[in-house]
């Protein structure tokens, strides 16, 4: 074999090498840590603004059912991917857990404390433990802040370190932990001088200085170039392994979820319709929506041209949630029962693993 070809699987980053192990060990996971985050029957509704005429006519106030009964839990050192199309409620779920939006009902328990019951003031010290990585690294950093200011800001807010000189080594350490080495090269930069991948790493470093227990990541790599995505994902992967962080990642890319997450939860119209270990969900999908989603993911190999099972139409408006199973209008195998009875999330008969759940009457 020529040297040219021999290098094919050579991982260029040590961290990406760790990702290699992830894929290899996908089936044999080490025992997960204790439960850090527990979300129970979470509902977040937004009122729809009524026009003057409707207000006068006393039309009933309508709601967007953004999150409509979501339950899942997350252990320390675990990465869960929340997958679904836009408008399925994955971002609202994250916003509610983060405390940016008050839930209509349900609980979010973090380390034994129900954070939905806390006031803004009581919540503030807890914000240290939940940190968020945003989708667009070009927007999430204050353009007027140097890298050092961006990373120092959370420390100032939470009173870490008493002086600049005390905080400086912490800033440098966070930058290096986020893969921006040597730190001196980056510490005095403005965001506009950095590439997308570097900005995203700065945003991650700014979260790391607070040593959070839970990291929420909203499409952390979708705005980045393909060539740097794996690096950022490998960084997140190393954080939950080495720092025992729990990571909840939103993504629309099932391939990324399959590669990096331990578990996948598929959302449709405000509900989780299927969840389980990543390998189980991807290789043995139970819900017809998951099956359809998986079938339309384009494969890398041009020879592997499976016929995608394209669903017609788009996700319905979350104001008028269909009766019965919310997926039935687009479902290729829906029966009469699906039109009337709302299926609960349960272990399907065909599922091999005990923690593989789907909300479908026919699974």
């Amino acid at each position: 074999m020529s040297e040219f070809m021999a290098a094919r699987p050579a991982p260029s980053v040590p961290a990406a090498g760790a990702a290699d192990q992830v894929a290899a060990e996908a089936a044999v996971r080490q025992a997960p840590g204790d439960v850090l985050l527990d979300v129970r029957d979470l509902r977040t509704y937004y009122p729809v603004r009524r026009g003057l005429v409707q207000s006068v006519a006393r039309a009933p106030r309508r709601h967007v059912h953004a999150v409509d009964g979501v339950s899942f839990s997350l252990r320390r050192g675990e990465m869960v991917a929340l997958v679904g199309e836009s408008g399925c409620g994955k971002t609202s779920t994250l916003q509610t857990i983060l405390g940016m939006v008050k839930p209509t009902s349900g609980t979010v328990t973090l380390d034994g404390t129900d954070i939905t019951a806390l006031s803004e003031r009581q919540m503030r010290p807890l914000r240290r433990t939940i940190q968020m990585i945003y989708q667009d690294p070009y927007e999430s950093l204050d353009p007027r802040f140097r890298v050092r200011d961006t990373i120092e800001e959370p420390m100032l807010v939470h009173g870490i370190g008493s002086s600049r000189s005390e905080r400086l080594p912490l800033i440098a350490a966070a930058l290096e932990q986020a893969g921006l080495t040597p730190a001196e090269l980056f510490i005095d930069r403005y965001p506009h001088e950095l590439s997308g991948g570097q900005r995203q790493r700065v945003a991650i470093a700014a979260s790391l200085v607070l040593s959070p227990a839970l990291l929420l990541a909203d499409e952390p790599v979708s705005m980045l170039d393909v060539s740097v995505r794996a690096g950022v994902l490998a960084l997140l992967d190393s954080l939950r392994r080495d720092a025992d962080m729990a990571i909840l990642m939103i993504t629309h890319d099932l391939s990324t979820a399959a590669h990096f997450a331990d578990r996948i939860a598929v959302m449709y119209l405000g509900r989780i319709v299927e969840q389980g270990r990543a390998a189980d969900v991807v290789r043995d999908p139970q819900h017809p929506y998951t099956k359809a989603l998986l079938s339309v993911v384009p494969k890398r190999d041009p020879r592997d041209r499976t016929v995608p099972q394209i669903l017609t139409g788009e996700t319905p408006n979350p104001v008028d949630v269909p009766a019965g199973c919310r997926f039935h209008p687009r479902c290729p195998i829906a029966t009469d029962r699906c039109r009337t009875e709302d299926p609960a999330l349960r272990q399907p008969d065909a599922a091999a693993a005990g923690d593989h759940l789907a909300a479908c009457h026919l699974a």
Partner: protein
Amino acid sequence: MTAVTQDPALAAEGLGVPAHRRGVFWTALRQRKSAMVGLFIIIFFIVLAVIAPFISPYSATAQTCAVYAPPSAQHWLGCDDGGIDMLSELMQGGRISLVVGFAATLVAMVIGGGVGILSGYFGGWIDSALMRITDYLLVIPSLVFAIVIADIWGANLLHVIIVIGILQWTSTARIIRAQVMSLRERVFVKRARAIGSGNGRIIWRHILPQVAPLLIANTVLTVAIAIYMETVLAFLGLEDPTVTTWGTILQHAFDRTAISSGAWWAIVPDGFAIAAIIVGCFLLGQAIEDSLNPRLKVAHLSIRRWRFRPLVGRGKDAI
């Protein structure tokens, strides 16, 4: 194996010497001729006002020549109805006019900036309440309102400042509010809140620095309007009669038949000074606004198009 095991994030190629962001704005401004002209005019009048007591040739209150004496070698701009040297009077008047202009603007900016930021940031009932007040002030005919207030409170320099300040903050509040409302939705502001920053901190560290250039542009524009308002109020006789401002100079000249006496020098230089400072403020203010809002830039209006470079003396595999 020659594999490069360099860090993925390190792209030394693209990273030069860290830049100074502040420099970007200043450079953009310096490229605008109008901004530099405006700035020069404003600085000229400020310097003149500061050093007026040391360089004014005569007293600005005592008679030093004949009534309506025309310009001469001794009195470059002639004399007014009281035999006072016009040049000295203009310098002295400019001091007060500028003080009134800047002080009233300060009042307007503090109220307008504050209302705009609070209204835009908090929204909800705070926004509704503050914007209703703004609307009311916006629809009141400002001159009539100023006349009434000045009349009730009495003609006094401080009152004039307050009246102008109260009348001029509304448009600033609306502009700042709109800007803050869009800033509030920016991801880096949301991120700051998610970190745990309080409202005060977010406003001080993230919102205010972002709206500051807009506030500065508005300040410069409002200075022009305030100086103009002061002139109008003085001309209508609502200014403190004991002080000398550009407005009272005009008023005196009109009242005391400068026009029928043909004493143009009692009016023209004064009017020119007022016009100049207003133009200067507008030039600078507009330039700041333009450089803040790239969408206002006129681009692609030229008929110039992309060019085709003919391949002269270059083979197919030259590149």
